[in-house]
């Protein structure tokens, strides 16, 4: 009875309550990666032509914009915000690239301007969220319409497609000797950057704190507003870059490019284990989530399954992943509670 209150010798603390393998394997991320590997294995075995290098090329080429934008989106959702305007920013950047080329600028100049426009768009989101203090869900529903509206308004009826071939080829070529598109190099660099930023820097630490409790974060000297502002700028910039890539890949600048992609991106991020309430999630899970949806779609399309079924599966996957997580924790609680009851009863009956 009194043992607990005795000021004894200095305590020692274990760093972790659970062994390493549990902390690594019993996670949301690990299960998504496992699922991805399983889907690949099954598709290799059963879907004709899936094992061809073309699959890798096409898959990566098409999911590249989602992969790219999912990186900053992960950080934003971890701070408990959301950016629904990314696909519109992509469209706007695409239009700016096109207009630049049409106006006779060299393509690299147009590309830089497009990325800057993306950054500006992100800054507008960021300012509305952090300076004015509005909920990002509402703000970015608004800018989703606004940026898309500007994109469609600027280009009107036309599509611009006379981009220099050297550049459009670059967007389509593979790393020599591999079936992997060149754009994946850009992605890898960005992914590495974002992973280090999120998981190994003080800034990354602060993002989790912001997502879980922004008041406590502010009291810890974290500049919540500024951090979020820069995340939105990053999101806009990457979306702008994705817009340039998209334009070159399809040799086509249009106002309605990638319309509706925001929800695909968010679905993938959430599937990858990021909590919509903020504070939880990791980049490797997100990348696996994007690839999982992409691979599943690619394999099913190859197997002749129509796109509607693919949509149904994407939705089911998303719903099941969150429901199973909450069901598992419920079962766990139940088990622990039952354990507690049993433990609670035995001393009760014996005394």
């Amino acid at each position: 009875m009194t043992a607990t209150t005795e000021a004894a010798a200095p305590r020692t603390y274990a760093a972790h309550a659970q062994p390493l393998w549990r902390r690594v394997l019993v996670t949301r991320e690990a299960s998504i990666i496992g699922l991805l590997l399983a889907v690949i294995a099954v598709a290799m075995a059963t879907v004709p032509n899936f094992d061809s290098p073309l699959t890798v090329t096409y898959l990566l080429r098409e999911t590249a914009p989602i992969l790219l934008i999912a990186l900053p989106m992960t950080l934003i959702i971890i701070t408990a915000e959301i950016d629904l305007s990314v696909a519109s920013v992509l469209g706007l950047a695409s239009v700016v690239t096109g207009l630049g080329v049409q106006a006779g600028w060299p393509l690299p100049v147009a590309m830089v301007v497009a990325v800057l426009v993306g950054a500006m768009a992100g800054a507008i989101n960021g300012a509305l969220v952090t300076v004015v203090g509005l909920p990002s869900l509402a703000v970015t529903i608004g800018t989703l319409a606004l940026f898309r509206g500007i994109a469609v308004g600027l280009l009107g009826t036309t599509a611009i497609s006379d981009f220099p071939e050297t550049w459009t080829d670059l967007a389509r070529t593979n790393i020599p000797g591999t079936p992997v598109p060149v754009v994946i190099i850009a992605f890898a660099v960005l992914a590495l950057g974002f992973a280090v930023l999120l998981h190994f820097t003080p800034f990354g630490r602060s993002l989790y704190a912001i997502g879980l409790n922004k008041e406590a974060a502010a009291f810890s000297g974290i500049d919540v507003g500024r951090s979020k502002f820069w995340l939105f700028v990053m999101s806009g910039t990457v979306a702008g870059f994705a817009g340039v890539y998209f334009t070159l890949l399809y040799n086509n600048a249009r106002g309605d490019n990638a319309i509706g992609m925001e929800l695909q991106i968010i679905a993938a991020v959430l599937l990858g284990g990021v909590s919509i309430f903020g504070g939880r999630g990791a980049l490797h899970g997100v990348i696996a989530g994007v690839l999982l949806i992409g691979t599943l779609g690619s394999a099913l399309r190859l197997a002749g399954v129509t796109s509607d079924i693919i949509n149904v599966l994407t939705g089911l996957l998303l719903v099941l992943s969150v429901v199973s997580a909450s069901a598992l924790s419920w079962v766990h609680q139940r088990r622990v509670a039952a354990l507690g009851r049993r433990r609670g009863r035995s001393p009760g009956t014996s005394s």
């Binding site: 004709p48 073309l54 036309t158 497609s161 990638a258």
Partner: protein
């Protein structure tokens, strides 16, 4: 089967291939569009006659980038031929070329891409013919004077824009009293076209007529007109399918409209695709092939095969058609 005769004199390279069943994939602008339903059905008939395998894939909304993934899948599957109606002349070009690189024969129909991205284009009617037919129809119905508007599909549809350009030229040249006040875009979406029609009528109270060179647009516009005070006041014509338009022709909303037979278009495209896939033709000008019950066709300049002239439907003849 059908094309054997032409096949045997088409060339040695294709000799062996013609025995084998070709796999042909149809990729319309979007699924759920009755016009393409009809044309694809024609294509399916032809493939059946040829003994090949037919497949129909497509996006649910008419956008070029979503067509690309279907083109890529076809390339991965290694189908023999792909028959596609392009949502954009450029955007799907590279994907089509990649498909051709792995040996897929590419035929465009209904809406073409740049000529260098496909082997053959099956043209439903010359753009001039279509533009002419529609201008003739509308000017006749409004007595060659007054305001008209065009309700198009999406702003980037190749064929639509080509026709509209030619129609504008024709109006400028030969119909000085007819003023084209606006080109509206219904995106080949029923609801949008419907609402755009309402907006046109309201924005231009003096409007005399609407031309909608797209089957979705004309049907939506007709439906709006038929319940509005403008029924019979504002003329409507364009390109439509008889089944969709029958009701409105009968109730007087629409006097006459034009179209080719989309089933024939699909049918011809399938034969053309088969001929390419089997090596019977290479898509050069002057190549000829047999298209089953449609008879013999020749490839002309720019790798185009022409189906024929547009056909005008009106109250007198519409009862004879079912598509």
């Amino acid at each position: 089967s059908g094309g054997d005769d032409a096949g045997s004199d088409g060339g040695d390279a294709g000799g062996g291939g013609s025995e084998e069943a070709a796999s042909i994939t149809f990729l319309p602008k979007s699924l759920g569009n009755p016009y393409f339903d009809t044309s694809n059905a024609g294509g399916a008939d032809a493939v059946e006659e040829l003994g090949g395998t037919f497949e129909e894939v497509g996006p649910s909304e008419a956008s070029p980038t979503s067509q690309v993934s279907f083109i890529e899948t076809a390339a991965q599957q290694g189908v023999d031929a792909l028959v596609v109606s392009a949502n954009d002349p450029e955007a799907i070009c590279d994907a089509l070329n990649e498909a051709r690189d792995v040996g897929v024969a590419v035929v465009t129909f209904d809406s073409d891409t740049n000529p260098e991205c496909r082997d053959l284009f099956v043209n439903q009617a010359t753009a001039e013919g279509i533009a002419q037919a529609q201008v003739d129809l509308i000017t006749e119905q409004i007595d060659d004077s007054g305001q008209i508007a065009i309700l198009s599909a999406s702003a980037n549809a190749t064929n639509q824009n080509a026709w509209i350009e030619l129609m504008e030229a024709e109006l400028d040249a030969n119909h000085p009293d007819v003023e084209l006040v606006e080109v509206a875009y219904g995106d080949d979406d029923d609801q949008t076209s419907f609402d755009k029609t309402a907006a046109l009528l309201q924005t231009y109270p003096e409007l005399e007529g609407i031309v909608s060179p797209t089957t979705v647009g004309i049907a939506a516009a007709a439906r709006y007109l038929s319940t509005s005070e403008y029924q019979g006041e504002v003329a409507l014509t364009g390109l439509g399918t008889p089944n969709q338009m029958r009701e409105y022709v009968e109730d007087g909303t629409v006097e006459a409209f034009a179209l080719w037979n989309p089933a024939d278009l699909g049918y011809l495209s399938a034969y053309a695709a088969n001929a390419l896939a089997t090596g019977e033709i290479s898509g050069e000008a002057g190549d000829t092939f047999e298209a089953g019950e449609l008879g013999s066709y020749e490839v002309d300049e720019e790798g185009t095969v022409l189906l024929g002239d547009p056909f005008v439907f009106d109250a007198d003849n519409i009862g004879d058609f079912d598509f």
